[in-house]
């Protein structure tokens, strides 16, 4: 479905991606984890061509993305970013409908499809006429997800989608997105700096450090990795979980 072969991207003197190879099969949920500046966001953006690699090839459905018209490529991929990126001058419905509108879908389909998408992200249908400024962070991010899903993409790229939310909302949204991923048979790639979130919702976790893939493992295996830098990342949630467990046991 998505394939990166030996992708390198340089930023001035430094290197954001250094020979990264990675594949995501159809239906997979891949989390990209790593410290700030490790190249996670650049990797994600190389898939929908918001970033252009200096070397290597990115393929979607077996086609080199450079051979695809950029707008067509992007409209076929759902994209959710941190800080939401809703258009402040458009209503919820207009935001959700923007991609189908760009693709020339008749406006007659709008109302039904918007209602459907609001149901999908568990928002009341009355929200259709509201402005983004009147929404809470969690509600706005649900609209962001609905907008990304509006054109019926099979791939979702998400950059710290729940990063700015409070822990409760964040957990709830993470789980409900995972449910959507399964029911719509999506292929999702999510950038996050929160290892616990990655461990709990992804099928595979790719750890990027200094622009290189340090580990590419399912959650359970990542937890038992012996790599010291990977351990440093997974130890934080593990120790928290152990302490919580101990608290609950009354020890």
């Amino acid at each position: 479905m998505i394939e990166l072969a030996d992708v390198t991207k340089r930023h001035g003197a430094g290197t954001a991606l250094d020979g990264v190879s990675l594949t995501a099969a159809a239906g997979e949920f891949v989390a990209l984890v790593g410290p700030s500046g490790s190249g996670k966001t650049t990797l994600l953006k190389s898939i929908n061509r918001l970033a252009a690699p200096d070397e290597g090839i990115v393929r979607v459905d077996g086609r080199d993305v450079r051979d695809m018209p950029v707008t067509e490529l992007r409209r076929g991929i759902g994209y959710v970013i941190q800080g939401i990126g809703l258009f402040p001058h458009m209503t919820v419905a207009e935001n959700i409908w923007i991609v189908p509108r760009l693709a020339g879908t008749p406006a007659t389909e709008r109302e039904g499809r918007v209602a459907e998408l609001l149901d999908l992200v568990a928002l009341p249908r009355e929200f259709a006429g509201r402005m983004p400024s009147s929404l809470s962070g969690g509600q706005a991010q649900r609209v962001g997800v609905a907008r990304a899903l509006a054109a019926g993409p099979r791939i979702m790229l998400m950059d710290e989608p729940f990063g700015a939310l409070d822990p409760v909302t964040r957990d709830e949204l993470g789980r409900s997105y995972r449910a959507l991923h399964d029911s719509l048979a999506l292929t999702s790639i999510m950038v996050t700096h929160d290892m616990a979130e990655a461990l709990l919702i992804a099928d595979r976790i790719v750890v990027l450090i200094d622009g290189r893939v340090r580990a590419d493992l399912p959650p359970a295996e990542l937890l038992s990795s012996q790599d010291p830098e990977v351990r440093a990342l997974v130890d934080v949630p593990r120790r928290q979980a152990e302490r919580l467990h101990a608290l609950a046991e009354g020890r």
Binding site: T71, L73, G85, F87, L157
Partner: protein
């Protein structure tokens, strides 16, 4: 109603419409050029700095100078290209005002684009908007308040600056202001200023309505605002009534009372002969002649000495009749301009003193003045001391004054009346010479050239017998004392008349 007020109000609709037309067109061009320019420059950091610098630089040129610059530029362009480019009137005013409108539009356009949240822009790109879609669906709507604020500023500036378009022959509220200032007709100035202010406030209000409509997503506000703009365009550009089948003659006037009176007199004659007339008042001295030669105006009055020295660049000083004769031949040969004939009076530079002061010092000619000059003070208008006439007099009589002072003409006369200066550079047809009981000093060595008022016609009118016939009765018909009296009627403070009233009085004799 006060006749001056009635006349100003009568002129108002036509001038307001012309003012609105040139302003709207300039703002429209400013928007049509400025917004794409801002968008284009926004993504090019180096270009952006240079562009903002350039539009800022335009703004530092005084509007009056910017307007004046386009007249010779268009004239040269028209001659070089052989195209009939009108150098006077709407076009130069439009170009200068459009340039003037650019700064706020470009600056706010760039600021609007810079003010858009990068996350929103990234989202727009990430969901697959083309550049064009991003502009139309995201950047323009989000930047609209800042962009509109720029357009509002541009509108107010442009409508204000359009009053200066009068100086290049584009009718505007400036016609009232400049002619009112010149004749000290303050009602006329006030009507012109208020008219321009009302237009500026109305434009600002309409744009504010659109702006608030966009901000509040209120359709009726936006529609009402756009409707009012459309209505203004209709008023400005759709002809009021079917233009009659009469020919329109454009009458020029320089920027002082006598010229306004004479233009009104010409207008009276031509209307009586069935012509439709338009006025281009307040033209700069050299602009007026070039405008006539280029056919932008059809007729105006100029003075033989001015044409001789400034247009033909001659430094000799032949007797009056010979100068007129040569002017007729040289202007016709060089520019095709026709000298219809002298009006019968002279408006020359003459040195003048209060009668009693002159008697006290025993001065009646420039020769006698030269002896007392080292103890006397000379008051001159703002340009006299730099003109060739002054150098000629200075050389011929060896004049050396104790002191020179420059004044605007009104204050120059007051200065000699209250004794601040002893001698002034008066104009021989000025009504204030008689009013203040001044004497003009004789010029026995004929150092000062003659300044016969000549009626001039544009090349295309040179053989138009009906047109020339309508104006010939003015030739030789205006004596200097009548002209002085007419000038005084307009210039004095009490029982002040408008130039049109003075012109009717002047013509009442025949």
């Amino acid at each position: 109603m006060n006749p001056a007020l009635a006349e100003a109000l009568g002129d108002l609709p036509v001038l307001m419409r012309a003012h609105l037309g040139v302003s709207l067109a300039a703002i429209g061009i400013g928007v049509a050029v400025g917004l794409p320019l801002a968008w284009w420059a926004w993504e090019r950091r180096r270009v952006r700095g240079a562009l903002l610098g350039a539009v800022g630089l335009i703004q530092t040129i005084p509007a009056l100078a910017l307007l004046a610059l386009f007249y010779p530029m268009l004239l040269v362009l028209g001659q070089a290209s052989g195209l009939a480019i009108p150098a006077l009137g709407f076009l130069p005013a439009l170009i200068a005002l459009s340039l003037y409108a650019l700064l706020p539009i470009v600056r706010n356009g760039v600021a609007a684009l810079a003010g858009i949240d990068p996350g929103v822009r990234e989202a727009a790109e990430g969901i697959g908007m083309t550049r064009r879609q991003r502009l139309l669906l995201v950047e323009l709507p989000l930047g609209a308040p800042v962009i509109l604020a720029g357009i509002r500023t541009a509108a107010v500036w442009t409508i204000g600056a359009a009053t200066l378009a009068t100086t290049v022959g584009q009718p505007s509220m400036g016609d009232l202001i400049f002619s009112g200032l010149q004749t000290e007709n303050w009602l006329r100035v006030l009507v012109g200023c208020l008219g321009a202010a009302v237009l500026a406030l109305a434009a600002d209000g309409v744009l504010a309505l659109v702006e608030s409509g966009l901000a509040r997503r209120s359709r009726w506000r936006v529609r009402l605002g756009l409707g009012l703009i459309a209505a203004a365009l209709l008023v400005a550009f759709v002809p009021w009534r079917n233009a009659p089948e009469q020919e329109t003659v454009v009458i020029g006037a320089k920027n002082f009372s006598e010229q306004f009176i004479l233009a009104s007199a010409i207008e009276e004659r031509l209307r009586a002969a069935g012509y439709r007339t338009e006025r281009r008042d307040g033209l700069g001295s050299t602009v007026a002649y070039r405008a006539l030669a280029a056919g932008d105006i059809d007729v105006y009055v100029d003075y033989s000495g001015t044409l001789w020295a400034n247009i033909l660049a001659r430094t000799d000083n032949p007797p009056a009749a010979e100068m007129r004769q040569q002017l007729s031949e040289l202007l016709a040969r060089r520019d095709g301009v026709a000298v219809i004939g002298p009006l019968g009076f002279e408006n020359a530079y003459a040195l003048a003193m209060r009668r009693e002061r002159a008697a006290e010092l025993g001065i009646s000619s420039l020769d006698q003045l030269a002896r007392s000059a080292p103890r006397l003070r000379l008051g001159a208008d703002l340009e006299f001391l730099t003109r060739p006439e002054w150098r000629a007099v200075e050389r011929a009589y060896g004049l050396r004054f104790a002191e020179h002072r420059s004044y605007s003409p009104t204050f120059m006369y007051r200065a000699v009346a209250d004794g601040s200066v002893d001698v002034i550079s008066a104009f021989s047809s000025d009504g204030r010479i008689a009013d203040l009981d001044l004497v003009t000093l004789a010029d026995p060595r004929a150092a000062l050239p003659s300044y016969d008022a000549l009626l001039l016609a544009a090349p295309r009118r040179a053989r138009d017998e009906r047109f020339l016939g309508a104006l010939r009765p003015l030739v030789g018909a205006i004596r200097v004392d009548r002209m002085r009296q007419a000038n005084l009627m307009v210039d004095r403070d009490v029982d002040k008349r408008t130039p049109a009233e003075a012109a009717r009085w002047l013509l009442a004799d025949y």
